[in-house]
């Protein structure tokens, strides 16, 4: 079971959380002006990296708040969690930087 650091509560087991998919995909301000292709891309297209992945998590059995996390998809190591709205931290790209869990 993963150990996830909620920015508001601290480290808690995975069962308290729910993953909400890829982060930093803002809902467009004016969907009506978008082409069908652009809208479909917003709706359905996601990256699927091997390595660091920024994703949304919610501490739904805790404080109830959403936050973002950088997780290594190879090792499942959580490199960093950060508040919604904050930019993606620069934590390198290689999964090798994250092979050792904290």
């Amino acid at each position: 079971m993963l150990l996830i650091r909620c920015p508001y509560c601290g480290e808690r087991p995975e069962v308290e959380f729910h993953c909400g998919g890829e982060a930093h995909i803002a809902r467009p301000d004016t969907p009506a002006e978008m082409t069908d292709a652009d809208w479909a891309s917003f709706l359905y297209y996601r990256t699927n990296p091997k390595g660091l992945h920024a994703e949304r998590w919610v501490h739904n059995h805790g404080c109830g708040r959403w936050f973002n996390a950088l997780r290594d998809t190879v090792t499942d190591a959580f490199v960093q969690t950060y508040e919604m709205g904050a930019p993606r931290p620069d934590a390198g790209n290689a999964s090798s930087t994250a092979t050792k869990a904290a």
Binding site: P13, T75, T99
Partner: protein, 994 residues
Amino acid sequence: MSQPFRLPGGGRIDRSKPLSVTFNGKRLEGYRGDTIASMLLASGSHLAGRSFKYHRPRGILTHGSDEPNALLSVDWRPEKGAGRRDPNNRASVVEARDGLSVSTQNHWPSLETDIGVVNDLLAPVFVAGFYYKTFMWPRSFWDKVYEPVIRRAAGLGEAPEVPDADRYANRHAHCDVLVVGAGPAGLSAALAASEDGSKRVMLADEGFALGGSLLQDVTSKIDGQSAAEWVEAAVAKLDARENVVILPRTTVFGYYNHNHVAMVERVSDHLDEARDGLARERLWQVRAGQVVLATGSHERPLVFENNDRPGIMLAESMRAFVNRYAVAPGRSLVVATSSASAYRAALDAKAAGIATRIVDIRLEQDCGPELAQARSAGIEVLTGHTVIKALGGKRVKGLVVAPLGNGGAIGTRRTLDCDCVGMSGGWTPSVHLFSQSRGKLAFDAELDAFLPGQSAQAEISAGACHGVYDLKAVIEDGAKAGGGNITVEATASFTGFQPVRVLPTDVDPGKVRAFIDFQNDVTAKDIKLAVREGFTSIEHVKRYTTTGMATDQGKTSNMNALGLVAGVLDRPLPSVGTTTFRPPYTPVSFGALVGPARDELFDPVRKTPIDAWAEANGAAFEPVSLWRRAWYFPKAGEDMHAAVQRECKAVRTSVGIFDASTLGKIEVVGPDAAEFMNRIYTNAWSKLKVGGCRYGLMLREDGFVYDDGVVARLAEDRFHVTTTTGGAPRVMAHMEDYLQTEWPDLDVFLTSITEQYAVIALQGPNARKVLEPFVTDIDLSEEAFPHMAVREGYICGVPTRLFRVSFTGEAGFEVNVPADYAESVWKALYEHGKQFGITPYGTETMHVLRCEMGFIIVGQETDGTATPDDLGLSGLVSKVKTDFVGKRSLTRPDITAEGRKQLVGLLTKNGQEVLDEGAQIVADPSAQVPMPMLGHVTSSYFSSNCGRSIAMAMVKNGRARMGETLWVTTPSGFTEAVVAPAVFHQVQGAKADA
């Protein structure tokens, strides 16, 4: 049975505490500190079971949890009745306790005489890939032959037939360092790690005594102390430290992500008196900062003909039985080995007064100092000899050996008479937990072993599982893993071995039954056949031959199998691959995993405040999401159909009362509440007046209907939202997600009030009359309180949010009251309503009534791909709003395309026939299969109000098909139905919106 093979002195048994157990109905004697295996050996017997496939007699191979043969069914408390017996316990680790009742497995009629041994004669049938080659055809053989016959013939223990009568506990723990294994490395690591008193250290060992390999070490000295003294001192020191938790009888069986380690502690099986309520086992879930793996190593058997005969065991196990349990495993021993460590077993046995000889595969010059030491102790040693085969059936009688000459020539055979053989083919580090932690293994050719390579987690291996075998180095390695740095003086261990896969023989190897995997009955021949048939990866060979796939996970067999495959392919061993070890390390009882989550705690039932009343009034219940809801209220002699038809009539003609408390309820509050609602729902909310209600529709961003429900505006800045019963949590989550992540600028608070309010629905022409006497502060007149309105006031003196809404088409009210008062309000309404024939109804009647009106249920009519227009609800989609969740998707080409499925009514030609929900709909039942399908039935009931059956369906271009006859599948074929509008009942008199 007395104990003729018990040695007169020594051992770590408590001779002041004699005990007896029942073994296959006979009395077996021993002492505290024994295992069932050592008691059996003390009685002079090795026979402990029959093998999986061939029913060959098997003995005790090991002294630890890697035992593949001696599996027992154990009744832990026979005096307490049924439910305390479990199968497949390894005799070598079952701690002896007075009163245990154990029996051997997989034989009939008895262990000594097992007719299943006929399988052994049929061995050529059960070759590698037997399952794949045999279970193919004919089909009828599956039911008549394979299942009943082969299942019974090949097997392990029998599953218990009654519920487990014991209690199982569950505990979570955190520590800075978790040390797995309390042998010399683990004790040393725990000592070093716990020196800093602020560090929380846990030490777990699967055995009931701490010390690991030192428990059978009677010769080594560590810093001047005997091994036993050193262990005692180490444990005493750890015990005295408050920051240390020592857990004997605790098996670490799973190593998961982020140092989440699962272990099972055997709490009470060993206790003479276990007080009532004491758990049998405890599941620990530990989150460790650092894990030290000190899990030791497994000895490899030698592979030669009949190497599975009872009396043949691993050499180190022979040593353990002699030294730790004070048992002579035989009167005349032969140690067959390619490993130096086995000499220690021979020397110790000899020192205990047992006749012992050694056969060493290694040449004279390849042996170490152990050779001279054995000879000077008077032990006859044959070096450079192979073992051709073992003699004997239910007990080994001798070992046929022969000298190995130059160029593979095998010399003259010689038979060594013996009644017990200790064999050693070297050592395999126990890297199971390291492998589970997703660490990468690295092959060490010198040690002929896979060792821990790159770590994936905060973990470190020490001692034998790290490829370190010499006692001094083991203790120092342990200290280092625990963060210390020490130097000790210790007796040099006999280390080093020569890897041998299958011993050379002078007969056709194709005719030799030499076992690699004892538990799954896989021979060297089987593995060679698999390779010849083209399997070259160990993962494939494993599955094809089942080697290493038994409950012991091939602890004793993996390296022999791997080495054999590599040898046949003439490839370096690592290129064949290694197996991935998965949890559990040893079998874990279901009881421990389930813990307290059984019976009523398995899946707790959510009940409404009215549930007790419904139960007392004879309701039949159905599960709806996590809730149990009253389904219908049968009167004496009524079946479900009769009850539902009566309830439906009552609502349409007088009044019914219904528990709608499970509806999801969310309060949306704040200055921006209306704006938030505008963005979440398809409807426009700004113009909804305070005191008004509206039916709201919610989409996902992809344009498909997500949920629906009535929304009431209680104040400019306060909405009372209702959701479907099953949708409540996900709608709340959906709203929170948007609020927090997309629109954090909106000043809105969301609060789930599902549990706070119970909802009592009164529906029917007389609903108002039932309600009137109890309501204060609300004008119930038609003019003051129209359909789709909400008022706040009191009922029975209790605050209420009173909704004038209807899900039946009749005039109706939904009374929201604080949950704690709901039952008393319900009872008051019910008592008063009796003069009008008030009828409690359940979910089935609710479904029929709403279907008569054509009201959809999200999740029944919709399947996650229905748009508002598909459901005929485009009128609920605001044309004015520029944006809301899902709006943009409603103009995507696929959503606006022709040919989508649309909601319609279906009327069977025969009005008495009720369609199956989920039934498929086609235009032409004689069309070629697979025939084009037009849609499916979503709801179907018999409606007494309509005097016929009614159904709703999603049908391709449905709205353009009014009056068309279609065909619907039935269990026996097809039936005709006509497409009609999805409204079946016209409400008479005082209508909902009158």
